[in-house]
């Protein structure tokens, strides 16, 4: 006989890490935290209309440090360069919920891949840090 681990009534599942949603690498508080995730490769949207492209005439090079902006672009969450604060694109709509996370979390990272072959595309890695 073994124990199922359900020996008490609690807000925290017995193996909390496994209860977190799959949205990237997910370590965080017991019970789950939608904000405590990193994003390995996110393809940004609206890159062709970005402020960075308009200013520089080209996409940001691989390795450029970026962060999630606290300001919205329309109703979308913008990714900007750390150095100049220039918007290089916006996060996909499915990540709009991060709006509830930005007050207490900072998302920083870098450009991982840039493509100009068929259409302008930029991928970024974002790492979550608590403010």
């Amino acid at each position: 006989m073994g124990s199922s681990g359900r020996d008490r009534i609690s807000d925290y599942p017995p193996n909390a890490r496994d209860a977190l949603p799959a949205a990237g690498s997910a370590d965080g508080p017991a019970g789950g935290d939608p904000c405590a995730v990193d994003f390995d490769e996110v393809e940004l949207e609206d890159v062709a209309n970005s402020e960075y492209l308009a200013v520089h005439g080209s996409l940001p090079p691989r390795g450029t440090e970026v962060e999630l902006s606290g300001d919205l672009h329309g109703s979308r969450l913008a990714i900007v360069t750390v150095a100049g604060g220039e918007r290089i694109g916006v996060l996909p709509v499915r990540l709009n919920y991060l709006r509830a996370c930005v007050e207490h979390n900072h998302y920083v990272g870098n450009v991982t891949t840039v493509s100009t072959s068929q259409l302008s595309a930029v991928w970024v890695h974002l790492r979550q840090e608590q403010r």
């Binding site: 359900r6 009534i9 209860a19 935290d33 499915r94």
Partner: protein
């Protein structure tokens, strides 16, 4: 705010050692009240073995006052929840429900309901509705909200307040949400709210309708989210009005679904209140219950009689739970045997299947194995500009055509449901 209802013990994923035990029922509403920082009291009905724990928990939430209104006998008030995320039917199983009954302490009821309440949120079920109706002085409460799966005539003592319910196959068996709301208003309720799970929420009041979308985001559980929504709406409607309160409550309800950690939940609530998304934010999904069945969803899969299609069956059931009407082409056009059927029969079946693909709004490819028909249909639909979702729970898809032709590649039932809602709402 006074909260009235039963306390349950929620057992999530009972066969999974990672599942948990959590106080549920009216406690879900209490958690939202706590996170909002509003003053609240709870009159609850519960079996005696969880009274001490409930009182301690409510103390921890800063509950102003609480009363053990009555005893549950004949049942431990434990509910098994095999599918807590509501990717499909949650499979609620309330143990010994047939034998469950409630014994209300009249003296406690008098004591609890003696005060003047500006807002009362009541969650009656068949075992306690009569007792609560008898004792709760609705005439002395400014705003009464009743959230119940009971019929309108069972809760007619609460008319004059706001009726709240959730759209489901059972609830909508005799009419869609507009019909339900119309009946509630005709029965004397001043407003009716129908929660439409991941498709948002609607409110009918007078001749007006307000509608808010559901927030797209990670979901850890969907248990008690509706109750949490109710509290958020009731707390905000006076200051914000129907539309904004619906919208904000919807976002707060997502926060409740995104975690079971109270601290994390409270932090999200605070952030959302400080900076709520605007109405019609692109990160929200609005899809009325009655609009879903008309969306043509094609299930591409090896749906043959020699294949174990239980995963496909689950996908279909989950979609139907949410009132979508997916099509399994073999069920419509039949299964062929290329070695025995005539060329004409093969040709006409092929043409009929292609017509279904052509007509569809969304194609869901279920990758049970590397079935050439599934993959061909996926490719054809993508080329025809259809919305394509690849459901790959076994992580089989590696070829670039499979990983990059679809609009979404999802690996869990929860992700699949979210993707379908997202694409369906964008049609």
């Amino acid at each position: 705010m006074l909260l009235v209802g039963q306390v349950l013990v929620d057992v999530s994923r009972p066969l999974d050692p990672d599942g948990g035990l959590r106080l549920g029922g009216v406690v879900h509403a209490a958690r939202m009240a706590w996170a909002l920082g509003i003053e609240f009291s709870v009159a609850y009905i519960a079996p005696s073995y969880i009274v001490e724990l409930t009182d301690r928990y409510l103390d921890g939430l800063g509950c102003s006052r609480y009363w053990h209104l009555g005893e549950v006998v004949g049942s431990p008030n434990v509910i098994l929840i095999p599918e807590p995320t509501e990717a499909g039917a949650q499979g609620y199983d309330l143990l010994l429900d047939n034998d469950r009954r409630v014994v209300v302490d009249k003296d406690v009821a008098v004591e609890a309901f003696r005060s003047e309440w500006s807002v009362a949120l009541v969650f009656p079920d068949r075992t306690d509705v009569e007792a609560i109706s008898t004792h709760l002085p609705t005439g002395r409460i400014e705003d009464v909200y009743v959230d119940s799966a009971l019929s309108l005539d069972q809760i007619d003592r609460f008319s004059g307040g706001t009726f709240i319910t959730s759209a489901s196959q059972d609830r909508c068996a005799n009419g869609d949400p507009p019909s339900i709301a119309s009946a509630a208003l005709s029965a004397g309720f001043t407003a009716a709210i129908v929660k439409e799970n991941r498709g948002g929420t609607r409110l009918w009041r007078g001749g007006s309708i307000a509608q808010a979308g559901a927030t797209l985001g990670p979901v850890v559980h969907s248990v008690g989210v509706g109750d949490a929504f109710d509290v958020a709406f009731a707390a905000k409607v006076e200051a914000l009005g129907d539309q904004r309160a619906l919208n904000v409550a919807s976002q707060l309800a997502w926060a409740y679904a995104s975690t079971t950690n109270p601290t994390t939940f409270q932090r999200l609530v605070t952030s959302i209140l400080a900076n709520p998304a605007e109405d019609n934010d692109s990160g929200q999904v609005t899809l009325s219950w009655e609009d879903r069945s008309a969306i043509e969803i094609y299930l591409a899969a090896p749906d043959f009689d020699w294949v174990d299609t239980s995963l496909l069956d689950t996908v279909e059931q989950a979609l139907r739970y949410h009132n979508f009407s997916p099509t399994r082409p073999i069920r419509v056009n039949g299964q062929v045997d290329p070695r025995r059927d005539s060329a004409a029969h093969l040709r006409t079946t092929f043409a009929a299947d292609m017509e279904l693909v052509e007509r569809c709004d969304i194609l869901i490819a279920v990758l049970l194995h590397d079935d050439p028909g599934t993959i061909a249909e996926l490719g054809w639909a993508a080329a025809r500009g259809k919305r394509v979702v690849l459901y790959d729970p076994m992580h089989r898809a590696e070829n670039l055509m499979l990983t990059h032709l679809p609009d979404d590649v999802v690996r869990t039932a929860n992700e699949l449901t979210a993707a379908v809602y997202r694409h369906a709402s964008a049609l």
